[in-house]
Symmetry: C2
Subunit: 202 residues, 2 copies
């Protein structure tokens, strides 16, 4: 019996489609005996490589995206609301994630889900270190340590390396899911991800 | 008994996802008692409004797109191959389409399907007026007239107006499908189009 490789789940904490995928990816993987490696990254850095910009900044496409975020969430029965400030910079929650991951990968994942829920249905400002520390503390982390994490040089470096690795792995959007080397971009590809897991490809 | 409004199907003849959607849209609409208004437009003009560019020109995303075109086609059992020259300018087949539409809307639609099939699985160069005239003639149009159509000022104007109307209707990609005012972008939204037709929305 050989263990199957984990699925890579790349996302930006400010990505509505990333949030939607985050509510489903673990259960999809579990149905097929897979683990998921959660990999927060920063779209702002990725966009420098591709020359793209945040969806809402693109004429016409931006307006469509706002409609589609909500419509996609309704279709999948995912609670959803846009944060007051959008797009936002996901550096702080990403650093708290990687700080937690070094201590407890399961806790880091629970933090990611809670941070997404705080941002999207909750409309909380997760760019705030205080807010992120509250979320981590609610899950059992030490609040003062979580509050300090975003300024820890080792944590900063861990996120920098993770973002660099995402770009090196040709991740250009959020969510971006890789199954046995096969890349899938977008929350609207979850059905295809599941089909790939089930069939091994087509 | 009130007739339901037709679905608007916007596409660019050079769009692989437009081709994939074109193989399905009529049957999807017919299952729900709808007609489809086929509306070729030019992504090059649209891109000037949005600041976007052709998919294959975007770093990383371009490479993904080439993989996804073929993967999407296989998933939907649509014969597919990339033309030798891509992206290409869709002015000529679009003008032949609008020229035909003034004469026989059903013939114009059959031309659109045949031109897409010539370009993608067929790998023919549909930027050629000769090739487009051959396709139209095979469907019963007069070849010499079809050959002259792309240079007819009235036909040129018709395409220009159609593209302007697409931009005014906030069409920013291909395919772009509008059902009772609700916009759907992408061949991967055909399931959602069908669900919207069936349920009236969610």
């Amino acid at each position: 019996m050989s263990a199957k490789a984990p699925i890579d789940f790349y996302f930006d904490f400010s990505s509505p489609y990333g949030y939607i995928a985050a509510t489903r990816i673990d259960e999809i993987a579990a149905r097929h005996g897979r683990e998921v490696t959660w990999r927060p990254m920063l779209l702002g850095v990725v966009f420098k490589t591709t020359g793209m910009g945040p969806l809402p900044s693109v004429p016409m496409k931006g307006e469509y995206s706002l409609r589609d975020f909500a419509r996609s969430a309704r279709l999948m029965n995912v609670p959803f609301a846009m944060p007051a400030k959008f797009p936002f910079n996901a550096v702080t929650p990403s650093r708290v994630f990687y700080w937690l991951q070094d201590r407890d990968a399961s806790l880091a994942r629970r933090f990611a889900k809670a941070a997404f829920a705080a941002a999207f249905p909750g409309q909380k400002d997760i760019t705030s270190a205080e807010t992120c520390a509250d979320i981590a503390a609610n899950l059992g982390a030490k609040r003062e340590e979580a509050l300090a994490a975003p300024n820890d040089p080792a944590v900063k470096e861990k996120l920098r390396v993770a973002v660099e690795a995402a770009v090196a792995n040709k991740v250009f959007g959020s969510p971006f899911i890789v199954v046995d080397g096969e890349p899938f971009w977008g929350a609207d590809r979850l059905d295809q991800v599941e089909r790939w897991l089930k069939t091994g490809g087509w």
